[in-house]
């Protein structure tokens, strides 16, 4: 009975979601929104060419103007924005009981985690410069990964 009260009511093909899971999904959605804002800003900078010129921190230029900041000409920040938006979408759907999205959420967050580790390595050992926007994004991804781990623990 107690357990029943702690879940939301299922609707259609959705399942009942424990309140604790709803809280975690909501926090995941909020964090991904912060990451989305950061990545969108960086993507716009890359598309306008602002990262190719100078007017701010030299270290930021070193990172964002480097070849590592693009994949086949596409700004990595744009890929990041899509990833954050996907995480937000999956978290919202998960919170409303769409159980199938959970595997997509896990896959996306762990993929972002792996890419973040590579980017941190690139900044520290290849470029020898750190971009504060990238560090903020890395912090968001670590938080997301932590929440995903927390949501799986009993």
């Amino acid at each position: 009975m107690k357990n029943k009260r702690a879940t939301s009511k299922p609707a259609g093909d959705t399942i009942a979601v424990p309140r604790s899971q709803i809280v975690i999904y909501s926090i995941v959605a909020l964090i991904s929104l912060a990451g989305l804002a950061d990545a969108t800003y960086l993507a716009v900078q890359a598309l306008t060419g602002e990262t190719m010129v100078c007017g701010g921190s030299p270290d930021c230029f070193k990172v964002l103007g480097s070849t590592y900041a693009r994949i086949g000409g596409v700004p990595l920040a744009l890929v990041g924005a899509v990833a954050y938006f996907s995480v937000f979408s999956f978290a919202i759907l998960g919170a409303f009981g769409y159980a199938r999205v959970r595997r997509f959420l896990l896959f996306t967050v762990w993929s972002m985690f792996a890419v973040t580790l590579w980017l941190l390595y690139t900044q520290a050992f290849i470029l020898h410069a750190f971009c504060r926007y990238c560090l903020f994004s890395a912090a968001m991804v670590f938080l997301l990964a932590g929440l995903i781990v927390a949501s799986r623990s009993p």
């Binding site: 989305l36 030299p58 103007g65 979408s89 919202i92 759907l93």
Partner: protein
């Protein structure tokens, strides 16, 4: 309603993000498009402009640069190669646009202007860019700049006096003011025949293409 609510939330966030991105893109798009005829370099006295290449060249490339700006330093080598390749048809003009965020950018601009007073602007310009990685990390750059002055054969006492003088500061400020009037916000900002080059085209291949197009335009026009 509960079934569609998450999709509505996702769609709203998607549209808001897209809208914010478009607004930001429009705001950040470079505003510099062209140098008005009244502000063209040809209207100024030759001694006020740092230019190299034939005065009657088909193409004039005007750069707003900051000696401590990494992209400016990175572009310098390919730009010098372009100057050599288009020797007879390209005139290059340099204008100072130092940023306060770069610790020694103003001192470097003053050093270049002080060298200019002894007729060695381009020698100092090239040296400052070539050695950017060294002096940019140095706390006290003045001894280094003095040694550069010695290397290019300047009268050291006069260089030291000029580098701290009002004349060079006024020249740097005048360049900067002109840049601001044209909408320059970042460096390097480059104009080819008074038309601004988009930041995404600040690479050797795109610059060569822009110069070729300008030469062709001039040929077709004449």
């Amino acid at each position: 309603m509960k079934r569609v609510l998450p999709f509505i939330i996702v769609a709203v966030v998607g549209f808001v993000t897209l809208g914010a991105g478009i607004v930001l893109y429009r705001a950040k798009r470079p505003q510099t498009t062209a140098i008005p005829k009244a502000m063209g370099a040809s209207k100024e006295h030759a001694e006020e402009v740092h230019a190299r290449g034939p005065a009657n060249a088909a193409v004039t490339l005007e750069e707003y640069g900051d000696f401590q700006c990494p992209p400016c330093g990175g572009l310098e080598v390919p730009l010098q190669q372009i100057e050599r390749d288009y020797a007879s048809s390209l005139r290059v003009i340099f204008r100072n646009f130092p940023f306060a965020v770069h610790e020694h950018a103003h001192e470097a601009a003053y050093a270049a202007e002080a060298a200019s007073l002894q007729g060695r602007f381009w020698e100092m310009h090239d040296l400052l860019y070539r050695e950017q990685a060294v002096w940019a990390k140095t706390k006290d750059v003045q001894p280094l700049f003095d040694s550069y002055a010695g290397m290019i054969g300047l009268n050291l006492e006069r260089f030291k006096k000029d580098a701290g003088g009002e004349q060079v500061k006024a020249k740097v400020e005048s360049d900067r003011k002109r840049g601001e009037e044209l909408g320059v916000k970042n460096t390097p900002t480059i104009f080819i025949n008074n038309q601004s080059v988009p930041p995404t085209s600040l690479n050797p291949v795109a610059l060569r293409a822009a110069i070729d197009a300008a030469v062709k335009d001039r040929d077709n026009g004449s």
